[in-house]
């Protein structure tokens, strides 16, 4: 700062907009997940293609008689396992996912849909704000685009070994992180919106590609479910990584912005 010729520009590690959209997205995804599972519970089975093949679902959660009572079962392809208490049957009630996982907890498809579509709009607006800002500010180019040297097998191999040893470089995104974030931001999250639109009869009529892209409305529903599962997996790994790499420092940075990142070795590449 007191260099009269070239004052150091203090840029927070996470800009205000990244922090805002990050936390809005976290809340929105949580609501979308809970309300999405509520909607799924109205017909806890998945199919491929245009129409449902009721006798042969690809995935199904059911409750069937077992001994004197009922047991919950989950079938995936040709595999069927008992999942009483979690899937198919929980708290003595026939339901796909248990009450603690759905919004609302009690059974209400109508309310689940209200929550889901309201927050789907928030998700889209929040995502568009982030994308517009990411492009305009250079956030994607500067922080997320991997440098050529980072993509060399040697470098990636070293990063994988570092991750396995829970050694994390401070302050900057590493190449694995960048690749995963890019895949989520430009792949998984847009896929969520597209497969959602692929289930809308109104959108399907005007834009048939929204369901043809997936091979049918029931396929779109299956992809929507699998993408949600992928997002849940990403978030769990993301949280695990934060816990493993200095949770307080990381949380502080995502709330207050954190300190300016140190210069990148080899940034001139």
């Amino acid at each position: 700062m007191d260099d009269p010729i070239k004052p150091a520009r203090t840029r927070p590690r996470h800009s205000l907009l990244v922090r805002l959209t990050h936390w809005v997205n976290a809340l929105v995804l949580l609501v979308l997940l809970g309300s999405g599972l509520q909607i799924f519970n109205a017909h806890p089975a998945l199919y491929w293609g245009h129409a449902s093949t009721f006798a042969e679902p690809w995935v199904a959660m059911t409750a069937e008689p077992k001994g004197p009572g009922l047991a919950g079962y989950t079938q995936v392809g040709g595999l069927k396992v008992e999942t009483t208490g979690l899937l198919g049957l929980s708290d003595g009630e026939r339901r796909g996912f248990p009450a603690w996982a759905t919004l609302p907890g009690y059974r209400s498809l109508a309310e689940g849909r209200r929550w889901h579509f309201f927050f789907a709009w928030l998700f889209v607006f929040n995502g568009l704000a982030y994308l517009a800002w990411g492009l305009a500010s250079g956030h994607f180019r500067r922080d997320l685009a991997p440098r050529r040297a980072e993509l060399s097998p040697g470098h990636l191999g070293r990063e994988i070994r570092d991750h396995l040893a829970l050694r994390f470089p401070h302050g900057r995104y590493n190449a694995l992180q960048k690749l995963v974030y890019l895949a989520v931001i430009f792949g998984l999250l847009p896929l969520m919106v597209l497969s959602g639109l692929g289930m809308s009869p109104g959108v399907n009529a005007a834009w048939p590609w929204t369901f043809e892209l997936f091979g049918g409305r029931q396929s779109a529903r299956t992809i929507h479910f699998l993408s949600a599962l992928a997002i849940v997996t990403f978030v769990l790994v993301h949280i695990a990584m934060v816990l493993a790499s200095g949770p307080l420092r990381q949380l502080r940075a995502m709330i207050t912005g954190g300190e300016t990142p140190p210069p990148v070795p080899g940034a001139h590449l």
Binding site: I39, A42, A45, H50, Y106, A110, E111, P201, G202, R217
Partner: protein, 258 residues
């Protein structure tokens, strides 16, 4: 070190907190203000679909090979009451579809009359709000032609379909009866028909005999079965729960294009 009891305490506190949070979620979901706020997204969804998507776009039509052998029937599978049973027994010979309300020429049409009116056959996908889909072939009278024959008055904005089935036996008066409504954009859409045939045969009772609405760009609950009377109205606020349909009165979207 007392790490195990402490861990137990933490886990207990954690699950208590989780329980409170979840109970809180349910309370929030039951709150009238929250419900009203969440419901506002429906207006945005409808406005966006009507603005961005073509209002006359046709729903995808499939081939006979795509027809579902296991087309599921939902809601009422057979209306109760002697009147309907009598109609079934006579193969709907004495049945009449009444078209009234805000029209210049009220109509009373038998099935034969309907079959003589401009018709359309289409193989379309039926999307239930629950998430499943089935494909079926429908033949029926084009609603647009019937409304042109009856001549809508200028103030007519919605078409209401009154049905023979009481889906909620516990609701008082007309609140338990099935009904639906659509606006004129959908009423005059090319694929909006009153189907009297399904898969090349007379419409089965479980699928709404003698007549069901097909409004292809919306979810299944809009496709009213057992249609007895059609009424053109300026507003549906005075009918049953006032939200334009049996399921709408129970919290579902009136615009079911999503």
């Amino acid at each position: 070190m007392t790490s195990i009891p402490r861990r137990g305490l933490l886990a207990g506190a954690g699950s208590a907190l989780l329980g409170l949070t979840l109970a809180g979620c349910d309370q929030v979901s039951r709150n009238a203000g929250v419900r009203a706020t969440l419901a506002r997204a429906e207006g945005l969804t409808m406005a966006a679909q009507r603005l961005i998507l073509s209002r006359t776009a046709l729903a995808r039509e499939f081939t006979p090979a795509d027809i579902s052998p296991d087309f599921r029937a939902n809601g009422s599978l057979r209306p109760a009451g002697a009147a309907y049973q009598t109609l079934v027994a006579s193969n709907f010979a004495d049945w009449r579809l009444e078209i009234g309300g805000l029209v210049e020429r009220p109509l009373s049409l038998s099935l034969e009359d309907l079959r003589a009116r401009p018709a359309r056959t289409q193989i379309t996908r039926h999307d239930c709000v629950e998430g499943w889909s089935s494909i079926g072939q429908w033949t029926g009278a084009r609603l647009s032609a019937l409304l042109e024959e009856a001549v809508l008055k200028p103030e007519a904005r919605y078409i209401v379909f009154h049905c023979a089935d009481r889906l909620d036996a516990f609701a008082e008066g007309d609140r338990g009866l099935y009904y639906e409504s659509i606006d004129l954009v959908d009423a005059f859409h090319e694929q909006t028909i009153l189907a009297y045939e399904m898969n090349g045969a007379d419409l089965p009772v479980k699928h709404g005999a003698p007549l069901r609405l097909r409004v292809e760009r919306q979810l299944g609950y809009k496709h009213a079965k057992y249609v007895m009377r059609i009424e053109a109205v300026e507003s549906f606020a005075h009918i049953a729960g006032g939200r334009g349909g049996f399921w709408e009165d129970r919290g579902y979207e009136w615009y079911a294009g999503i």
